[in-house]
Symmetry: C2
Subunit: 446 residues, 2 copies
């Protein structure tokens, strides 16, 4: 082998310019046509795997073969989260600046371990989390960093809470996200579920805080975006010496609009807070933003560096605020999104989604035989057909099998309820109108 | 606002084709010139943040401004992991197919929660982990999935071990990775460190397994790539009912070459295994591959779905094998890498790195005044100048400040030791020779 010829050059020669142009064109044309594809993948379990060769290739193949198989073999098995008519779970958007920043982050392939392994990665992450804190109206001085998902953010918060309080009980509402159950289980912590009031909010009077390491309060629950009374919960936590973690994974993004900050009341008293920029802030998966108002204590739960060995560089080590040691350059995409949208651009997206949700809600309210199933606070509408659960289940199955729109469901007051979540930046009023037309058409057949 | 004009279209219009072409050109030209940049960022803590505006913009900016600032403000603060003369920690490579797959994954923005939220994401992840298991010569039938980092993979394995055994002690060598300490601490498990022999291998005779939930055995430790005696450890674990987790985060990739599988002896008896494809398998961060030979028990530690509610679709839910609920489409990049390199291409890269490490080792051995500090097993060479630690510390500081090459260090037998890690696919013999020249030049000044 010649000295100046790398093994990579001798392997399948994928050219970043030539093959990159093809990948970019595939990406752009995918986004052009994504609205025409069936939103929910219309395949059976195992169907995709059955099309793939049982073994990897012996010799390298051209990148064109990867693109071709992505198109022919994988595309039918993708659920199109980028579709303007994706209304399931919480709808999300990978915006153009976020997508391109991921290309750049993968190219740089920086691994944030210590500060020196990538000063810019570390400092940009701290910096854009400060920017985002300003946009959301959070208190000054909180320490923010990025985890992959809210599950990990909440896990980290509970680790910190147990470390700081020396207690082992987690308290949350019966409507808190399943990630709280999962984290408590992973950590071997006891979970205490609190009943909710008739608007699905945690009942502060029913909270038992003896031995409680942490309370997880939710702003915008997954089922129906109910908002726990954070201020009252925070006051109880303060009195009991209990850590307050606020899960605003979806709804926190709305705070970019001052008129929507009523859901933020009391959050300034939290010990930690999670907001997922990959949900309603136009950032591709994964970008879960975790702040703490008690950074030194939070860090002490994770740090393996004895205090007497600390250097000024260590002050920046983000691996001391969560489970992972290495981190990829996630900050780059959030930076690109905040730069290219600006405060006004983010507000415009959120406000338009609220307008569309309000519109859809008004149509449901005006239509005989349909009902709104929970108060609508933000861009999620919970609704159902009058009559038995079976009729609603059949409706949902028919609608999703049609492929034109995708919705998911929940159960409220033990009734099957449909959810229409607006959160994709490509969604227009015409898309929401189409969803309503499809729902009414299919309802006639149920 | 008109019905068919999305809020995104009204915000800063970033065009995926036009701005994407500029981003792609930036990426390609970065990789063309990365060898000329100072490998280790030559900045002081806080210097990068100080250059950034204290607040985010009010109005959206063009993507060109992001690219410009990446170049002017951030680049001086990046440590260039893609440089062919990055020899620190474990050197890594984001290869072209991996980079382009990340562009595609961000474009698709699929979120794997349940199978139906992206059947292709879920099934491809299972499938490429099977492919990789074949390439590495692992037993049939293991269940593989992807976590972000080995820290998370090991954390998940310890959660499973505690769940399955009902015990609370973790046992590992004194040379195990710090992520074991961190995971044990997060989980509230007791950690028992076992002394090592004179080749830095865990001493099986010194393992105390009473109450041990898990043993973490390491194949290729971070300091000096020592290899614990996995078979003997496995036999002790079997007898004690203890879970065996094997951390082969770096060295496991070498198993793609049959002649390097001597380090795999006994791994077939493991309960779980982690190999980081983002280390030595040309895949961009993050892609940590975690297999288990006991999938049902592993899943039972994480699953919140009661058995009687399981459907056939649930069998595929990868969120039941680790902390996170949502996952991004990481499998796409691993698939692209395995396709574009093939078995032969991967072997060529690994073998060339071993050849280069062997060459560098031979130069050190032949040079008076230098010494090899630990047996070289793979592509990492541990060495030092004769004489006191201070001289070696000064040498490392001078070398890294020069910017031409980057090395990191460790301590072995209480001596300061330099590490030269070969793992970047762009590294040529000329780069390794240059490193040796720089080291000898600087040594003359210490």
């Amino acid at each position: 082998m010649e000295a100046d010829r790398t093994p990579e050059e001798e392997a399948a020669a994928v050219d970043l310019r030539r093959d990159g142009a093809a990948a970019l064109e595939w990406a752009a044309s995918y986004l052009d046509r994504v609205g025409e594809l069936p939103v929910l993948a219309q395949v059976r379990p195992g169907e995709i795997r059955a099309k793939l060769p049982p073994s990897p290739p012996e010799r390298g193949e051209p990148f064109a073969a990867v693109l071709r198989d992505l198109d022919e073999l994988l595309l039918p098995g993708l659920t199109h989260w980028q579709s303007p008519r994706f209304f399931g779970y919480f709808a999300v958007t990978a915006s153009e600046p976020g997508i391109l920043a991921e290309l750049l982050a993968a190219t740089l392939n920086n691994v944030g371990i210590l500060w020196r392994t990538s000063p810019a990665l570390t400092e940009l992450e701290l910096h854009v989390l400060d920017w985002l804190a300003q946009l959301l109206g959070l208190p000054d001085g909180w320490h923010g960093h990025i985890e992959d998902t809210a599950s990990t953010s909440t896990l980290a918060a509970l680790v910190a809470a147990r470390h700081v309080t020396g207690r082992n009980v987690v308290v949350c509402s019966e409507h808190a996200h399943s990630s709280v159950d999962k984290a408590a289980r992973m950590l071997g912590m006891e979970l205490r579920k609190v009943p909710s009031d008739n608007e699905f909010r945690m009942r502060v009077d029913a909270m038992e805080l003896d031995g409680a390491a942490a309370v997880v309060a939710t702003v915008g629950t997954t089922s129906m975006t109910s908002v726990d009374p954070v201020r009252a919960i925070a006051e109880r936590c303060r009195a009991a010496g209990t850590w307050l973690h606020v899960d605003a994974a979806y709804a926190g993004s709305a705070w970019v609009c001052p008129e929507l900050r009523w859901t933020q009341d009391g959050v300034e008293l939290a010990d930690s807070l999670v907001v997922n920029a990959h949900k309603w802030l136009l950032t591709p998966m994964d970008c879960s933003c975790l702040w703490t108002s008690r950074p030194d204590e939070f860090r002490s739960a994770f740090s393996l560096v004895p205090e007497y060995l600390r250097t000024s560089e260590d002050a920046y080590a983000l691996s001391e605020f969560g489970p992972a040691l290495g981190r990829r350059f996630r900050a780059l995409k959030l930076w690109a999104v905040l730069r290219c949208y600006g405060r006004e651009g983010l507000q415009r997206v959120i406000r338009e989604h609220l307008r569309l949700a309000e519109l859809f809600e008004s149509w449901v309210r005006a239509e005989p035989g349909w009902q709104i199933a929970a108060p609508r606070h933000l861009s999620l509408v919970c609704f159902r057909l009058d009559g038995p659960d079976e009729r609603n289940e059949e409706l949902l199955a028919r609608v999703n099998a049609g492929g034109e729109i995708f919705l998911s469901h929940t159960r409220l007051h033990d009734r099957f309820v449909l959810r229409l979540a607006i959160g994709n930046a490509r969604t227009t009023e015409a898309d929401v109108r189409r969803a309503w037309d499809v729902l009414r058409q299919e309802a006639e057949r149920c």
